[in-house]
Amino acid sequence: MRAWKRIASLGLAATMMASLAACGGGSDKKEETSAANLPTIDQIKIGEDYKDLKAEVKVLTNRTDIVDTVYKGYAEEFMKIYPNIKVTYEGITDYEESLNLRLTTGDWGELCFIPTSVNKSELADYFSPLGSFQTLDQTYNFASEAAFDGTVYGIANGGTANGVLYNKKVWKDAGIKELPKTPDEFLKDLQIIKDKTDAVPLYTNFAAGWTMGAWDQYIGTAATGDPAYMTQTIVHSKNPFTKRDDMTGPYAVYYTMYEAVSRKLVEEDPASSDWEASKGMINKGEIATMVLGSWAVEQCKQAGDNPDDIGYMSFPITVDGKQYAGSGGNYCFGINKQSKEDNQIGAMVYLKWLLEESTIYTDEGSIPALKSEPLPDALADFKDIELLPETPALEGEEDLFDEINNESEVGINNNDYPDCEILEAALYGSKSLDEIMNTWNDKWTAAQESKGVEVK
């Protein structure tokens, strides 16, 4: 009796030790592979270098809808030039959350979209350097998005301009000749559309969540004309969400949303809106306007029989007589620094091919990764609007925006819920916009204080 009890407890203890050791073992393996032997991406010549390299490259992507069709097609095309480099794709639903966890294990594949939750100072812990910022900035758009300390760790998969998607025919039928330039003109036009046509003037897509978060993208360049606003200014500003007299700045963006909802210029029941269906509806002219990035243009054109009716205008805010639009990179590609060296090089070759030779940017209608390539057709209407990419953050402050943003829970560009709250407040009439903006200001100030940020 006693003997087996003792053995049983020994066994238990052994089990515990073994499983603990297994846990510990995982983290010990994370030894640095030296990056010294890797080329930089600008040194590689596609079709000439590394023809003999044998490598396996696994690419992780969030586009589960096209991973087995379009993306697989790219891989096959690439493997015609490089038959020894085997490229496979893996689609991940719930991309951000899964990848957060998988990154820490180090064993996830070779090439992925860098999740937005990785701070810039942490890039070097997970991703191999692709080259110096100075060199790559001359070739690629948005090179600063995943750069730290003068080194680039990721290159954006093309980019997006931020404007407003609209159905040209509906706007014309309503008798609107000139596109709006201020929030109030915009709201007036929506009212005209409501009165004169059957279309929903502004479709919020509230139920999807991220579509509400998309409004955050306009509070920077589009609302202030300052491409450094989001990266340098807002972290140091006192009460950035306060109303400005000339109707610019973040307040003006949220004012547009709040007023459109409280004046009933949006869909009847936002809680049951449906994003997939909305693409077809704007194509058919059942929706007049949606506030989304330019990446949505191509999708909405393809969603029905009237691709030519889809237009793209800038966000209706004018700063000192001029309209601006921000542009930003999509997800950045990063290479796993813990993968085998040959595989890393293979991944870099594929990345370069994808950025420079593939048709990915025409297919997706986004701003191409190469600076030398022309803007997509979707942005044809952006002639008079100045398109500005964001200025990189000051040295030493690369993480500051993320820290304050997370600490304050205002969640610009990463939490949709605060934007949803604005819509709810407008819908139920429970809070005024000023009240909400004041709360945001308070949270922002508290976060600035807790991080010891100098406020100008």
Binding site: M1, A3, W4, I7, A8, G11, L12, T15, M16, A18, S19, L20, A22, C23, E96, E97, N100, L101, L103, T104, S117, V118, N119, E122, D125, Y126, F206, A207, G209, E268, D269, P270, A271, S272, D274, N406, E409, G411, N414, N415, D416, Y417, C420, E421, E424, L427, Y428
Partner: protein, 340 residues
């Protein structure tokens, strides 16, 4: 007796190999070998993650990157934030839903036990929702409640005007009820099967005997079925209440916690994944664990009192009466003794 002999018998020193070859040793080996894998899995996927979570709750950390020890700050914040505990009120809707669900399940199970034509079909049909995964249920109801979709069309078919139909997910008076109803739909069948299983074990001769004595169906339910399946009922109530406190799938999938439908879990998820405050979310999880434990203990105590059931032969009331009588008698005896 045989087992005790080992202790009684004077101990003879055995070497390990001798012990190993003996019956005792073989039994111990088998037990250890069989326990190893389940224990390993339990540790690996339950206890170690749990201990890690306890550890994380004392840190200020994100999923990736460094962490700093902050002591009890996260716990203090949980109690200071307005959104954490307010969200527990949303759970009240799910608790009320759970009561409706148990009542329905009991009702249907009793119908089945008394014999219904085609009860197999009914059983299968009612149990089926439980087999669908929670996320899929969410999507089903997202479209069910959407303006102008299934529910609205059905109501219009029976003559209701669309203007008089509320917006199921938007109207804050009813949207939590709509969501709680989805979980009632999902779990009623499962509860029913559990009840039915317990009811089947009741001796059917009792019904016959009772009906000879003039008891109707209601009496049979109240005096025969309910007392016999009491422990299952209590178990189901406890499970439903703790389930209500941790309701997640319906609000997360259908409304994403907007429009005042955010339950505790939804808020926790938002803090952890969108604001990257992993430490705070872990602290919230542990606070919820404590709340659930307290609720369970409170319920156990309550049921121990309310359903205190005496023995097989006498009802609780009879036991109480008897004890009271005994007490009075004792008192009288003592009282009598002291005056003498």
């Amino acid at each position: 007796m045989n087992e005790n002999e080992a202790y009684v018998r004077p101990k003879k020193k055995r070497s390990f190999s001798e012990w190993f070859k003996s019956g005792d040793g073989q039994r111990a080996t088998v037990i250890i070998v069989f326990l190893f894998i389940p224990l390993l899995l339990l540790l690996l996927f339950t206890y170690i993650p749990f201990l890690k979570m306890v550890q994380f709750s004392f840190y200020d950390m994100k999923y990736i990157g460094g962490k700093t020890f902050v002591g009890l700050k996260n716990y203090i914040e949980v109690f200071q934030r307005s959104d954490c505990f307010k969200s527990l009120f949303v759970s009240v809707y799910y608790m009320l839903g759970a009561i409706v669900q148990l009542a329905l399940a009991l009702f249907f199970a009793s119908l089945m036990v008394f014999g219904v034509q085609g009860s197999g079909v009914f059983k299968a049909a009612m149990f089926f929702p439980y087999l669908i995964c929670g996320i899929a249920v969410g999507f089903i109801f997202k479209f069910f409640y959407a303006r102008g979709f299934v529910l609205d069309s059905l109501l219009q078919m029976i003559g209701m005007n669309i203007e008089n139909i509320p917006m199921w997910l938007q109207d804050q008076k009813i949207n939590n009820i709509s969501l709680a109803a989805t979980s009632v739909w999902r779990y009623t069948g499962q509860n029913m099967i559990l009840f039915l299983g317990a009811m089947m074990s009741v001796d059917s001769e009792l019904y016959e005997a009772a009906s000879l004595d003039g008891a109707n169906r209601w009496h049979q339910f109240l005096y025969i079925i309910l007392p016999s399946i009491k422990s299952i009922v209590v178990l189901n109530i406890i499970l439903s209440i703790s389930g209500s406190l941790s309701a997640f799938e319906p609000p997360y999938v259908i409304t994403n916690g907007t429009m005042g439908t955010g339950t505790y879990f939804v808020i926790m998820n938002r803090l952890a994944h969108e604001n990257q405050k992993v430490g705070l979310a872990c602290a919230m999880a542990i606070v919820l664990l404590v709340i659930i434990i307290l609720c369970t203990i409170a319920q156990k105590l309550f049921f121990a009192y309310a359903f205190d059931d005496g023995t097989d032969d006498e009802s609780k009331a009879a036991v109480r009466k008897r004890k009271k009588a005994a007490k009075v008698a004792l008192k009288a005896q003592q009282g009598g003794g002291s005056t003498v």
